[in-house]
Symmetry: C2
Subunit: 103 residues, 2 copies
């Protein structure tokens, strides 16, 4: 199961790197411990709403943008369809494949 | 400051009510204590990523939809512009208003 904190972490790291900020700069500006911010980015810690607000402010990114990016990452995962039957074209290829016993 | 947990709470309650589910039904299906779910809906408690996942499943709503709705609620707040000077038309109205000292 994909977890919200993992996707939030990825989005926060992407945004920070896009802006060319170091972890130290963002942690300092957001008044968050550097190790804690690092754990948030790696999806290992939940960010409280207050800390998420501070980090968004430090990155100069509206929370709406962060939430939209998180939503987009979930969409990408949710739209992967794992069929519960083998597709017909795969069966056909398999039947005519070179490993068919022909003797 | 608008907090993520408040907007998540509003979104979860809206979705639950749209589907006609009671708090008890969703709490039971998500294996979450009823009082805890109620606090999450009121924005008083942070939902862990695991619990958010369970509640989304119980509501039969993808997390991407919840995140998009949260983003939309933030957008509505973020686009409210509070001017730091009094608009000219307000000054004009005030100057010509009935409370002007005319004697």
């Amino acid at each position: 199961m994909t977890l919200v904190r993992q996707e939030i972490g990825e989005v926060l790291r992407d945004l920070r790197q896009q802006k060319g900020y170091t972890l130290r700069q963002v942690a300092s500006r957001a008044s968050v411990a550097l190790g804690y911010l690092s754990e948030i980015e790696r999806g290992q810690k939940e960010a409280s709403s207050e800390i998420l607000g501070s980090v968004a402010y430090a990155l100069d990114v509206p929370i709406s943008k962060i939430m939209h990016l998180v939503a987009a990452r979930f969409e990408a995962v949710e739209t992967v369809v794992i069929p519960d039957t083998v597709p017909a074209e795969f069966v056909a290829n398999f039947d005519t494949g070179s490993y068919t016993n022909t003797h």
